[in-house]
């Protein structure tokens, strides 16, 4: 566990909570805690991201909680979740009241389409940054590709795909194939 002060944590996460529009929240986190602040390395971010994907529950809040815990313990997790969720919750509540009281019908489709496309660029960029930093050995590249193919185009159940890829990873490591036993990748955070 690291020690980032709660007020700085609140600022970073409230900003993410206020600005994370249009899906792909993980990329907004990456921007805040890896790119703009030296709080997490890409490797640590990849660890937290994986954990948040394995856990049940809404992914992005899971990721916020896990990162918050890493940075400032239980209080960090609590503060992170609140700062992350409250701005959006209040904004949505306001829109909800307007919707049911005044019958405003949102035809935001063209706007959402453009926004969704821009988010693709955002997520692709965070993913590229992460991959360039974390995937440094042929073995790691193979494992990343297997995971991608299984969960992406092949639509294998996520939990099953992770188990499969993990099996391959452990095997490659044990045999020292494409994954130097004396890990050149540094120690885990």
């Amino acid at each position: 566990m690291r020690h980032v002060s709660l007020s700085r944590l609140i600022r970073a996460f409230a900003w993410t909570g206020l600005t994370s529009l249009g899906g792909g929240r993980s990329a907004y986190f990456h921007d805040q805690v890896v790119v703009r602040r030296p709080w997490l390395t890409n490797r640590e971010f990849a660890q937290d991201f994986t954990l948040s994907q394995i856990l049940p529950g809404p992914n992005s809040s899971n990721l916020g909680v896990v990162i918050g815990y890493r940075l400032a313990g239980g209080r960090g997790a609590t503060v992170a979740a609140l700062a992350l969720l409250l701005p959006g919750a209040l904004a949505l509540l306001a829109l909800t009241i307007v919707y049911f009281k005044f019958g405003l019908t949102p035809d935001a489709r063209p706007f959402l389409r453009g926004m969704g496309a821009a988010v693709v660029g955002l997520v692709a960029m965070a993913c590229a940054r992460l991959a360039l930093d974390v995937v440094r050995t042929p073995g790691a590249a193979v494992v990343a590709l297997i995971t991608f193919a299984a969960v992406g185009p092949l639509h294998v159940n996520t939990g099953l795909a992770i188990l499969l890829a993990l099996g391959v990873a452990l095997l490659l490591r044990r045999r020292g194939v494409g994954w130097p036993a004396a890990d050149a990748e540094g120690s885990p955070g």
Binding site: G23, N59, V65, L92, G121, L122, A131, A165, R173
Partner: protein
């Protein structure tokens, strides 16, 4: 009162179904909330649009449903049921991981999980691309957003809103 309990219970188990991204759970959520009569199918679609228009997780749509079913109390109950228990589980997992990290085999496991995280993120990017890029306009927006963000001149929110404006202008 009983209806509030149902509201809490429904969003609680729906939240735990949302493994690996909330999109998978949407059809089931729509089925549940309309079968209880909390909102109509059309209202749910509109509510999801509103959730996409506001920052934060789209699963906040629980608040929309809760509000229509039971007013402010319903909104609070549904939102808490969606996020609180799952967040507690996530915090416990993070805590347990901190302890495990001292062990050698856990370190090997964590190292092995790293490229898997990258693969998962790539898969998420793929899924998002499939659902959001369907013509040259959306493809151009995605590529332009990538290029601008790579250079780091604008924060993500500015790029995403710009993308929305371009889509809106082109769609009008």
């Amino acid at each position: 009162m009983i209806d509030l309990a149902w509201l809490a219970w429904t969003f609680l188990w729906l939240s735990f179904l949302a493994v690996g991204g909330g999109l998978g759970v949407l059809p089931e959520m729509q089925r549940q909330v309309t079968s209880f009569g909390w909102v109509t199918a059309q209202q749910f679609v509109d509510g999801y649009s509103l959730a996409q228009l506001t920052p934060g997780p789209n699963m906040l749509v629980a608040i929309f449903v809760g509000y229509h079913a039971h007013g402010l109390l319903g909104a609070a109950v549904a939102g808490a049921a969606m996020f609180l228990p799952a967040s507690v589980v996530a915090a416990l997992a993070a805590r347990y991981r901190d302890r495990l990290r001292q062990l050698r085999w856990a370190q090997a496991l964590e190292q092995s999980l790293l490229p898997i995280g990258v693969g998962l993120m790539a898969a998420g990017t793929y899924t998002l691309t499939r659902s959001a890029v369907h013509d040259w306009l959306t493809a151009a927006i995605a590529v332009a957003a990538f290029a601008v963000l790579w250079r780091g001149v604008l924060p993500p929110i500015a790029v995403v809103v710009l993308g929305g404006v371009v889509g809106w202008l082109a769609g009008a």
